[in-house]
Amino acid sequence: MQFFLDAFRWLLDPANYVAGGISPLPIQDRIGEHLWYTFVSVAIASMIALPLGLFIGHTGRGRQFVISFTGMMRALPTLGLLMALFLIIGATVPFTQAAFVASIIALVILAIPSILAGGYAGVESVDPQTVDAGRAMGMTEMQILLRIEIPLSLPLIISGIRAAVLQVIATAVIASYISLGGLGTVISSGIGLNDNERILGGAILVIALALVVDGFLALLQRLVTRRGSKEARPQNIDFRRRSFGSAAVAEEPVNERKRHVQSKK
């Protein structure tokens, strides 16, 4: 208990927030860096994984390949990947840039599978009859995607991004291993100084940051959950461990509805 009290006292000490302190202080700068790494890597991962996921969901093509490929990506140990990337990239670009680029690449690779799964599970969860109706009205495939599939799958798309953000926030701590900033520096400096307050304080900061950002995204997800779209229940969809599971969860209600429609005839 005393541990925690000390950690909180350290966190609440105004001296730790004064600008110009020596690293890892001031704390708000490290939080800012941490958020920045998270933002950059999730944004890049989204730019790669969302179009791909939407394409797979819409066409059903390449699904098997991409699922096994991202399954492999999940199996990569992020820390090992980071070190390898750092060595490779460090050979070509200056040290500080290499650390940043290597960290971002490692985090992007970490984030892609969840976002991809959210994308295709989302599109696949849209009632096939609604898509059929759009096509029958004379929508182009692009219009079907933009006006029907994406609006109806936004909750699942965002829950994929949420999962990715949580993973990245938790994992960005390792950037400090290659002397980059972020909240990891608080923890590693604590380890270096044998200072438990800092180690625990840093960990608490990571958790708090994750909770706040996730809460914000949960709110966003709520706002975009429209009529007709699946209630996205991220707790049922474990994006982190099972790439197949999410799709299976998303598919089940669709089948249910098909049955319902048939029984109506």
């Binding site: 009632d127 009859q129 609604t130 059929d132 109706a133 759009g134 096509r135 029958a136 009205m137 004379g138 929508m139 182009t140 219009q143 029907i148 609006p151 109806l152 429209r226 009529r227 007709g228 779209s229 429609v261 109506k264 005839k265």
Partner: protein, 275 residues
């Protein structure tokens, strides 16, 4: 005029939904496909707007092979009421009705105005305009489906069991309404049902289908009633059980004259001629 020329559709799993089907559907007339479930009615309908492409044979609209037409443009010119209504769940009723005009670039306010008029046309209250599909009853949803199909004022109207989800009384009303509407707009209409009475109520031309889209008989309701082609058609229209041969039966206790079928089931009462 819509013309099927030796059309066959075999689905990838091997099912022949339609086999060597040929028929002319005259312009400005109502053609009704009747047949039991799985007879290939929906498949025939969807080959007209290229939602299904024939395995062999041709579908012509006014002499032009639809296979050569751009499917998106073709579908926007053909009104289609889907068997399962297919309303977009995330759009309000008015926006659902305005879907095709909006795709064709009609401004939002004008499209909405027209949507409200269409709500009147199909007998729905304008207050439903800002509801979502899941806030409507099944029958109301089906009427919205009809309104949506009418929205771009298409020459051809495909209706796949549009009145399947309404009670018999409303169904009769809707059939009357459709007849009235057809009197005004006179579209080339293709209507699918498995209810033979509904077919007789609205059709200029009735097409009775066996499994595999095989035509058992084509003709006007009167022709088919008068001369059923074979046992299948007789069974289908209920002539075998004498349902179509009616007799008068006077009830002694109150003097009412009943109309009964061959099995003695009452079909109606004889009214006084007003005049």
């Amino acid at each position: 005029m819509i013309e099927f020329q030796n059309v066959t559709k075999q689905f990838p799993d091997g099912t022949f939904a339609v086999k060597d089907f040929s028929l002319v559907l005259p312009s400005h007339k109502v053609t009704v496909f009747v047949g039991s479930s799985g007879a290939g009615k929906t498949t025939l309908l969807r080959m007209i707007n290229r939602m299904v492409n024939p395995t062999s044979g041709k579908v012509l609209i006014d002499g032009e092979d639809v296979a050569g037409l751009n499917p998106v443009a073709l579908r926007r010119k053909i009104g289609y009421v889907l068997q399962a209504t297919g309303l977009l769940p995330h759009r309000k009723i008015a926006d659902n009705i305005a879907s095709v005009p909006r795709l064709n670039g009609v401004p939002k306010s004008k499209a909405r105005e027209e949507a409200l008029i269409l709500l009147d046309t199909v007998g729905l209250d304008r207050s439903l305009a800002d509801r979502y599909p899941d806030q409507l009853s099944g029958g109301q949803q089906q009427r919205v489906g009809v309104a949506r199909a009418l929205a771009s004022d298409p020459n051809i109207l495909l209706m796949d069991e549009p009145f399947g989800a309404v009670d018999p009384i409303v169904r009769l009303e809707l059939q009357d309404e459709l007849n009235r509407l057809q009197g005004e707009i006179s579209k080339t209409m293709v209507f699918v049902t498995h209810n033979i009475d509904e077919a007789f109520a609205i059709a200029d031309q009735v097409v009775i289908l066996r499994a595999g889209g095989e035509i058992a008989q084509v003709g006007s309701p009167a022709e088919i009633l008068a001369n059923p082609a074979d046992d299948f058609v007789e069974t289908f229209i209920g002539a075998d059980k004498g349902k179509r041969t009616l007799h008068l039966q006077r009830r002694e206790e109150d003097g009412v004259t009943l109309i009964v079928d061959a099995e003695g089931r009452p079909a109606g009462i004889l009214g006084e001629d007003k005049g």
